[in-house]
């Protein structure tokens, strides 16, 4: 039996802007099991990054969690004080960001920044912390770590910087690692190196990873479980096989059809019509219904409930509800 390490319940995160209140995350539920890789996939503005930032509570000043719980080992961390949070971040849960250049401080050496994280969260000080920094760089495959600790971020390549970020995030051996688009800024061959490294470290250290990305390829490659988000809501969640082979939400289906595929070369792509959602002007019902080709009347009026599919994964789409009702009625007539 796997152990649930993080449980997000009915999470709502809202931002106050000049143009009004923007509900970026709108009732998100999921569980993260120990040692598993969970992928959150969605387009820009779907609320995937905000979900990740809400867990660490590192939202912008105008953002706040308005509703819901985030349970880490049974404790609600939304109720934590700033001091408690500081020890939660880094030690229990840490994050790597998309752009390694802007997330490292350009005026301090790599070693200095690694040492800071180590001294802050573990008992190690001084020389001991320095030794740990070198050890961590070695772990993430940075060559000549003794030399690298004395270098500044600008002296390293993009792939190396991302390795340093990973070393920093893992220095305190967190239970959860959040990776927010960790390879989007990198080239494919470097991306392959970093993904390989993350998988390797995950096996070695046994932490759980939340992988936030828009790249379905990366998700398919890495993740055990997947959450598909659109307009701040979860459309569908399940195992990688459920999502890729048995998608039950119209948005997931559309998304999978719009990526070019070796099997569909020579055919036209099937894009999702329409334009991305404007969070300031959310439809009353299902967020996806303005772009959905099979939208029904109820989709415009009511938010679809999350329903469990026969194979055990969850999808929020009225079409599934309709299909089940029809199946029940049909079954009733036959009897």
């Amino acid at each position: 039996m796997s152990e649930t390490i993080l449980s997000v319940k009915n999470l709502h995160t809202s931002f106050t802007t000049d143009k009004g209140e923007v509900l970026a995350v709108n009732g998100v539920n999921f569980n993260l099991d120990k040692g598993k890789i969970l992928g959150i996939v969605g387009e820009s503005g779907s609320g995937k990054s905000v979900t990740a930032y809400s867990i660490l509570q590192i939202l912008e000043k105008n953002g706040r969690i308005t509703e819901g719980q985030i349970l880490y080992k049974g404790e609600d961390i939304t109720k934590y004080t700033e001091k408690q949070l500081r020890s939660f971040r880094g030690k229990c849960c840490s994050i790597i960001f998309q752009d390694p250049m802007t997330s490292l401080n350009p005026v301090f050496t790599v070693g200095n920044q690694l040492k800071e994280a180590i001294e802050l969260h573990t008992g190690r000080k001084g020389k001991d912390a320095e030794a740990r920094a070198v050890e961590m760089l070695n772990l993430v495959g940075v060559n000549e770590p003794e030399k690298r600790v004395k270098q500044y971020p600008y002296e390293l390549s993009g792939g190396m910087r991302q390795r340093v970020m990973i070393a920093m995030a893992l220095a305190c051996e967190p239970d959860i690692l959040i990776a927010d688009e960790p390879t989007t800024a990198l080239d494919v061959t470097i991306q392959a190196q970093i993904l390989e490294l993350m998988q390797e470290l995950q096996k070695k250290l046994g932490m759980a990873i939340i992988m936030v990305t828009h790249d379905l390829g990366v998700i398919a490659d890495m993740c055990d479980e997947i959450i598909v988000m659109y307009g701040g809501r979860v459309c569908e969640r399940g195992t990688a096989e459920d999502i890729f082979y048995r998608p039950a939400h119209e948005y997931t289906k559309g998304l999978l059809q719009s990526i070019p595929n070796v099997d569909t070369i020579g055919e036209k792509l099937k894009p999702i019509p329409g334009t991305p959602i404007n969070l300031l002007n959310m439809p009353k019902g299902c967020a996806f219904c303005p772009r959905c080709e099979n939208a029904m009347k109820i989709c415009i009026e009511q938010v679809p409930p999350e329903m469990q599919m026969p194979d055990g994964h969850f999808a929020s789409c009225w079409l599934n509800v309709k299909a089940e009702m029809e199946a029940q009625q049909g079954g009733g007539k036959n009897e």
Binding site: V188, N261, V262, P271, P273, T275
Partner: protein
């Protein structure tokens, strides 16, 4: 591919040994040439799409810009419809050679309305008799790229990324070009919107017979849209072949690892396949390795690779590879 390409005619565009160096200050009085593009040759037929792929810094964008003489090439020649492209001829040639840029946010002037953005190339090349004709042409173009005619008086910031890219494409099409350089034209877009724009590029090609140089780093998209693909590494083309041939039968070690590194959106296939993970990083173009530029990361590198730089050789059916060992 269902598309028919006229191959018996002369190529539309011919690039011969194109070189583009940029002087970089490396000391107080010292300048070192950065060889962004170092001897690239290829040709594009009318109505054909040539995909140009490679990692950042390999010079793929520079190739596109040098062809259009947005830079002044250091060496080599470019022929368009048999006529040499130089500082003089480019003036009238730009009517037939256009460009779509990567970032739909910074490539449109925020102070201009959509009508003026699309109309600017018409103004420059004086392609209308009167105001009425100009407006008609603009509205036709907007319809062609799937924009609503009511939006003509709006400003770029009022549109989403996908729509902005459509404005950029309408602007490129305004002069009725025969050749368009698409520089990462779909990279900044979300997948669902990206598919819309990719389809539009294909439809426009069928309708107008325009040829594309499609520069991108997303190999799945490039494979989808291209007839042929050229792979670049550190300023040189290492392999060029038909799109399907290149994907099914990559010969150059760099192409092989590049294709194996593409994250494939299928969990079972993704877990089965063997990745060829390249060691190390791309060397700096300022300190290019002697001989073959890829040898520092190549599994098959031999002494010969360090001494001589391989040139493209034909391996049958127009599949050209620059490698000593493969």
């Amino acid at each position: 591919m269902s598309k028919e390409i006229i191959t018996n005619n002369a190529p539309l565009l011919e690039v011969k040994d194109l070189k583009q160096y940029f002087p970089i200050k490396t000391g107080l009085f010292q300048k070192t040439p950065l060889k962004a593009v170092d001897g690239v040759s290829f040709s594009i037929n009318p109505g054909e799409t040539l995909g140009l792929v490679g990692e950042s810094g390999c010079g793929k964008t520079t190739v596109g810009r040098s062809i259009l003489r947005l830079y002044n090439p250091t060496g080599g020649e470019v022929f368009f419809k048999g006529e040499k492209v130089d500082a003089k001829s480019i003036g009238h040639m730009r009517k037939e050679m256009q460009m779509v840029f990567q970032d739909p946010y910074s490539s449109l002037n925020p102070r201009m309305t959509v009508e003026d953005i699309i109309g600017e190339p018409l103004d420059v090349h004086k392609l209308y008799q009167n105001k009425k004709e100009r407006r008609e042409k603009i509205l036709d173009l907007m319809e062609l790229v799937g924009l609503n005619a009511e939006h003509a008086t709006r400003y770029a910031h009022e549109f989403s990324g996908g729509q902005r890219q459509r404005i950029g494409i309408a602007r490129a099409l305004a002069t009725n070009p025969k050749f368009i350089v698409c520089d990462e034209a779909v990279s900044a877009l979300d997948v669902s919107i990206q598919a819309q724009v990719v389809n539009m590029f294909e439809e426009l090609q069928e309708k107008l017979g325009v040829a594309y140089l499609f520069i991108a780093h997303d190999l799945l998209v490039v494979h989808h849209i291209s007839d042929r693909i050229a792979v670049m590494y550190l300023g040189r083309v290492v392999e060029i072949a038909d799109a399907d041939e290149l994907n099914n039968n990559p010969v150059h070690p760099y192409t092989q690892s590049l294709l194996s590194a593409v994250p494939y959106p299928d969990p079972i296939k993704a877990k089965q396949r063997q990745r060829i993970v390249l060691e190390g990083d791309v060397p700096s173009p300022l300190h290019m390795p002697e001989g073959c530029a890829f040898r520092t990361r190549c599994r098959y590198a031999t002494e010969r690779c360090a001494k001589e730089c391989p040139s493209l050789t034909d391996r049958g059916n127009g599949h050209q590879v620059a490698c000593w060992n493969k």
